[in-house]
Symmetry: C2
Subunit: 170 residues, 2 copies
Amino acid sequence: MSERGSAHASTSGENLLFLTDDQLRRGIEAMFFAYRGFTADPDRILNDYAYGRAHHRAIHFINRSPGTTVNNLLDILGVTKQSLNRVLRALIEDGLVESQVGKRDRRERHLFLTDKGQALEKELSEAQRVRMRAAYRDAGPDAVAGFRKVLEQIMDPELRKHFQSLKDGS
Amino acid sequence: MSERGSAHASTSGENLLFLTDDQLRRGIEAMFFAYRGFTADPDRILNDYAYGRAHHRAIHFINRSPGTTVNNLLDILGVTKQSLNRVLRALIEDGLVESQVGKRDRRERHLFLTDKGQALEKELSEAQRVRMRAAYRDAGPDAVAGFRKVLEQIMDPELRKHFQSLKDGS
DNA sequence: CTTGGAAAGTCAACAAGGCTGACATAATAT
DNA sequence: ATATTATGTCAGCCTTGTTGACTTTCCAAG
């Protein structure tokens, strides 16, 4: 934590200019505008398939952790089972997701993407990656590290756990 | 500018590891989880007032640019006038927003927060700033700079203009 | 073996907040 | 005069979230 030489705004010898309300407000607005861009490309594609963001999120995390249970997905997505169920039902009916009864615990349903589901997942995630790749490249590796660091701090601790447990494998 | 692939280091003398699909996916998930945290605190407050995020956004940008017109707000928020109108009507009826007929162009309505509106704005934004302040502090100034840099690149160019024009004054 | 409770699914009803389309009004611009 | 712009409004639709009530399945503890 280096010292910064410049002028005021310090309570403990550090330059805390980056913590002014104005800086914070800039960050808040940046999050707002960026999130719109972040979802714009997948949204366009989903529209063609008559799906929405809720379907995208389910597809993403099923792809990420094949065989995950409904309850686990519920935790990650933070919606009610009724809400998720509506989405899953559509995806299963349309043949994008397969639901397998658990072997150890046959109450549980394990979720998998079918080939068709994987195809859509790839289309969606690649569209989203194109934008992120361009942003990362323009901003550079140091900026990317900071980006991720701040985002991680913004998360609720509960969600941060989920995020981190996705780091390695499911 | 090609370079894709997973794990090899450089094609042009630079280390491009931060552009791997895995890194991109991590960023995508970080955005997802962080945005949830980002909106969580205001959402809780809004719930008490029977308002939603749409009201928050309107309040935020009216506070940011007092006297802004409906059309300008429409551009920034990226929703239809019907959608915005529903929200504005509620805020005006409840005495949080005041709508003044334009003087030069009397078709326009200029929007202002009343004292009551400013009070809610302050409550909402302070709740959001508490989280952001903690995140900024934990991540440090360099990370914050990178955070903002990447977010700005993620925005649609159209929205980036709006973001940037909010930098100074309205 | 019975039973309590967990996991999952389902139905119904509702709300917020998006959307489109059609139309009204007022005022500016041509 | 007429066209265009800015705004407002009504009606209706969709997605995606919510609660509440209820059922089915099935594991596990008594």
